[in-house]
Amino acid sequence: MKLKPGAVITEPGNSEKYETGGWRTFCPSVDPAKCTGCGLCWLFCPEAAISKGKPPKIDLRYCKGCGICANECPVKAITMKEGCRQ
């Protein structure tokens, strides 16, 4: 990748190339036995890093570890754990 003068980005929508997983301190961990597949975590994830499913799939390349999914999960199927990497 060649950096452009002044940090100009000439390719629209290229933020998907920037993997924000490196920001993460706490990592979501899903308990498939508790998950009801309701999709709230998918809906609330600000990074769109979660794919709908039972259990949902979390894309750790982008997950910043914000914990919103764990907070929103109505059955507490998601817990935030320290130390997990991609």
């Binding site: 950096l3 003068p5 002044g6 940090a7 100009v8 000439t10 629209p12 490196g22």
Partner: protein, 392 residues
């Protein structure tokens, strides 16, 4: 055509000849008559440009940044406190690599409140990634301002043209003013490669995360550092077309000089007279006039001053708690070299204090003494200070 104009009109005329499209400026003190003249050109139809009157210099630079990003040639002028108020946006302009040209009439900064000449204002923003070119007389102001647009646009770097307030800004001198067709042939139409255009969307000023910020600073440093060659090249072309050139620095009778004065701006003229009169008496004294302070031409400075026994760095600014900015940078240029000349820093002419021939001769005498004895008694000297008023 020869005309008798002051430094401010030389700037305004150069901006007009460069066919600037947007001028954004704060119109009140510490502004100079530069923008008054430009407003006049626009109102009488001599210049087709948008004049944006703003409420502060911070906004003046912001508007120039926006204008330059849309792909038009943008210009502003300021001075003193105005430049300091603008300082936040100076870093944005250079960081975004927008080729804005600004002229700065060098004037002191408050407090005490002062509007007279010294170079503290531009010295204060020397780290901002702007090219800084200092002028000796009104002809050089006009020529440098025209050149500045070429330099800025070829390198995608903003350029600040500095000239001494009052001594040049408000003083009439004969200036050879080029024709529009000559300037058109020298300065092509403005072209910014990433100009804002809905058909070709771009992102400007994205977040510089830790993974990338350093690389962009490195690239900016490289661009400013390497701009030296382009400045010289453009100056050569200018000289071919207009018969006048200035180089990155000027060596005046300094070839065999034992003592050399180093200075910037209009003081160079006063120093040339001193050099001439001392040369008549057979004394080996010379001058180096530095035009480009940023980029700082380290190799050329070593080459020009390295042969001298002692150097008097004469300047109208001070980095409080250390020394004059020119002195600091010149001393740094000689780090890791074997034969550095002795150097004395003469701080003078702050806030319009006259720098007389007698004072300059005094500086030369002290530097000669250092050259003879091989010792510098006091590294930083305040030239023309009223000792009685500051004694404990």
């Amino acid at each position: 055509m020869m005309r008798i104009i002051d430094g401010n009109e030389a700037v305004a005329l150069a901006a007009k000849l460069a066919r600037v499209k947007v001028i954004s400026a704060y119109p009140i003190t510490p502004q100079t008559t530069v923008v008054e003249k430009l407003a006049e050109y626009i109102s009488n139809g001599e210049l087709d440009a948008e004049f944006i009157k703003v409420e502060s210099e911070h906004s003046a630079m912001s508007a120039c940044i926006g204008a330059a990003a849309t792909g038009v040639r943008a210009f502003t002028a300021t001075s003193s406190q105005g430049l300091l108020l603008m300082s936040e946006m100076l870093y944005v302009a250079s960081g975004l690599r927008l080729p804005i040209v600004m002229t700065n009439a060098n004037r002191s900064v408050s407090a005490p409140l002062s509007i007279w000449c010294d170079q503290q204002d531009s010295m204060t923003v020397r780290d901002s990634g702007w090219i800084q070119l200092y002028c000796e007389n009104n002809q050089e102001i006009l020529d440098t301002t025209i050149q500045a647009f070429r330099i800025a646009e070829e390198l995608l770097l903003p350029v600040m043209v500095c000239y001494d307030g009052y001594i040049l800004s408000h003083t009439l001198e004969p200036v050879d003013c080029p024709e529009q067709s000559e300037v058109d042939a020298f300065l092509p139409e403005y072209h910014y490669p990433y100009a804002l255009d809905p058909e070709k969307p771009v992102t400007m000023g994205p977040v510089g995360v830790p993974e990338y910020y350093m690389e962009f600073r490195y690239l900016l440093q490289k661009a400013v550092q390497e701009s030296k060659a382009k400045i010289v090249e453009i100056d050569h072309e200018f000289k071919k077309r207009f018969g006048r050139g200035y180089g990155i620095l000027e060596e005046y009778r300094s070839d065999d000089a034992e003592v050399v004065i180093l200075t910037m701006g209009s003081l160079s003229s006063s120093c040339k007279e001193i050099v001439d009169s001392l040369r008549q008496r057979g004394e080996k004294v010379g001058l180096v006039k530095l035009k480009s302070f940023r980029p700082f031409p380290t190799e050329e400075i070593i080459e020009a001053l390295g042969r001298a026994k002692a150097v008097a760095v004469v300047e109208k600014d001070i980095s409080l708690g250390h020394a004059g900015g020119l002195f600091i940078d010149t001393a740094a240029a000689f780090v890791n070299t074997r034969e550095a000349p002795l150097m004395i820093n003469f701080i003078c002419g702050l806030a319009g204090r006259d720098v007389t021939s007698a004072l300059l001769e005094q500086a030369v005498r002290e530097t000669q003494r250092a050259a003879e004895t091989g010792r510098v008694e006091k590294k930083i000297r305040w030239l023309g200070l009223q000792e009685k008023l500051v004694e404990e």
